[in-house]
């Protein structure tokens, strides 16, 4: 399975060589954090920045993972996938390479946000929880990048994929617990937020910020990620062009 590293290395090199990509992918979440976190007039908390930081971290992973599916669409459209599928390395290493790249990129983005948030005064109750925050974000990234990459394996239309991904990502974010706590939500939104998988990641991250340890949340994400991975492995193994 060393091929995973080789596929990862290829994507990473290509990404870092397009400097504008690196810059823009780091700017967007930072803008969210600063513009929304510092300006929104909220009544339920006197430090909204502290409240919204976990939401922005998870949002960054979510958008980055969903957008990452387009990598696989391009591999298909440009003919790379055909070549890779005709090679003897296990086919799921193509999937794992993509997941590894997409989540690594997402974790780099979230690191920038954590740094900015720290500079703006956000503090962790228990600094050791930073490790668990990364693990939570990693599991969430694996869940959504394996989903997006596996979906992309079956599509061959980039515009269509981009449309679906933005159609899914915005509502997922706005119906989650990212922007407000459950008790100030309207009834209908509270119902949706409780069903939304993005809320699980946000609530877990928020609990980690305040010093608690959300065993259930992290375990839930791990199970969901594992199930999605198994589906992805199966789809890649039987893939034909």
């Amino acid at each position: 399975m060393r091929a995973i590293i080789h596929y990862f290395e290829r994507d990473f090199k290509k990404w870092t060589r397009g400097r504008i990509n690196v810059f823009s992918s780091l700017m967007m979440p930072a803008a969210w954090l600063i513009l929304v976190g510092l300006t929104l007039p909220t009544k339920f908390t006197d430090n909204y920045l502290e409240f919204i930081t976990p939401g922005i971290l998870v949002m960054t992973m979510l958008f980055s993972s969903l957008q990452g599916g387009s990598l696989m669409i391009f591999e298909k459209m440009l003919g790379f996938l055909n070549k890779f599928l005709a090679m003897p390395a296990p086919r799921e290493s193509i999937l794992f390479g993509k997941i590894m790249f997409i989540t690594t990129r997402g974790l780099l983005q979230t690191t920038v946000i954590l740094i900015i948030a720290t500079l703006l005064g956000v503090r962790l109750e228990n600094p050791m929880n930073i490790v668990l925050i990364y693990i939570t974000l990693f599991l969430f990234g694996v869940l959504f990048s394996s989903l997006s990459t596996t979906v992309a394996l079956h599509l061959s239309d980039h515009d269509g994929y981009a449309a679906v991904s933005s159609m899914v990502s915005m509502p997922l974010f706005f119906t989650s617990s990212a922007l407000m706590p459950y008790d100030v939500m309207p009834e209908w939104l509270r119902f949706m937020a409780h069903l939304n998988p993005v809320s699980y990641a946000i609530d877990s991250t928020r609990e980690l910020f305040t010093g608690g340890i959300p065993f259930e949340g992290i375990a839930g994400l791990a199970v969901a990620a594992a199930i999605m991975l198994i589906i992805g492995i199966y789809q890649f193994r039987k893939a034909t062009v």
Binding site: Y7, R10, K13, R17, K76, K83, A86, M87, A89, T240
Partner: protein, 258 residues
């Protein structure tokens, strides 16, 4: 002749459309050309042989391995260069080849990478980004990638498509050189003159059926003196107009799967 590729009754349907219809073929150590009009089943045949598609019935063996039962053995023995010119333009030529060498776990990697770059006359430009390469150079880079693990059979789908005359000639010189070094080459092409000049044997495929198989020389002789490969081709192919064959539907059907 030791058959490196043996095809028996190979059949592939896309929906109710028969793209490859019970074909039988044996290919030995040679340059073998598969000719046919658009949508005749050339690329589908290549994808069946390279384990990218599974046949509905029939069987095929490549280098003695069954493409359905032993796909990984087949993948280890072959290389496949599709039509698309898929090389990473943000990587250098050497990085492109090195990626393949790593995935194939080629022993003595750096030397072998140097060898194939040299073989394809890319050594001087090896450390430039592929973005700066011409079409012909990109195609040679793909050949270098394909050769890095020393495959026994090389599958080329339209290797000279979209290249200018000089670049096409150069690609063919390289393919002939590989043949002299003992490699088997299975390829598809639209260019009859090229098939005539460089292929040891050709098969003409039409609507999923192999219409004829022989050396270009014999095929031409059968039609009488002065016949060209174009004549042979047209003689064997019933054109879309004559039969009312819905080539558009067929192609869009295939495209959906690529």
């Amino acid at each position: 002749m030791v058959p490196l590729i043996e095809i028996n009754g190979l059949t592939k349907y896309f929906g109710d459309l028969c793209a490859v219809d019970h074909i039988d073929l044996e290919v030995g150590n040679e340059i073998f050309g598969l000719l046919g009009p658009n949508g005749a089943g050339k690329s589908t045949t290549v994808r069946l042989l390279t384990t990218l598609l599974t046949p509905n019935s029939g069987s095929a063996r490549v280098c003695g391995y069954d493409v359905v039962k032993e796909p990984n053995k087949v993948r280890e023995s072959i290389s496949y260069v599709p039509q698309d010119m898929a090389v990473d333009i943000k990587l250098t030529g050497r990085e492109n080849v090195r990626l393949y060498a790593k995935i194939y776990r080629v022993p003595d990697r750096e030397n072998q990478v140097d060898n194939v770059l040299e073989l394809m006359e890319l050594t001087e430009r090896a450390d430039d980004l592929v973005r700066t390469y011409s079409g012909g150079m990109r195609r040679r880079l793909e050949l270098a990638q394909a050769l890095v693990h020393k495959p026994n059979v090389l599958f080329l789908d339209e290797p000279t498509l979209g290249l200018d005359v000089a670049a096409r000639k150069k690609i063919w010189e390289h393919i002939s050189m590989l043949r002299e070094r003992g490699m088997t080459i299975f390829m598809t092409t639209h260019y009859m003159e090229e098939a005539d000049e460089y292929c040891d044997r050709v098969a003409i495929i039409d609507k999923g059926n192999i219409v004829t198989v022989d050396s270009p020389k014999n095929l031409k002789q059968r039609l009488g003196t002065g016949a060209s490969m174009n004549d042979v081709f047209l003689e064997n192919i019933k054109t879309a107009e004559e039969e009312g064959f819905d080539a558009f539907r067929f192609r869009s059907m295939l495209r959906r799967r690529t």
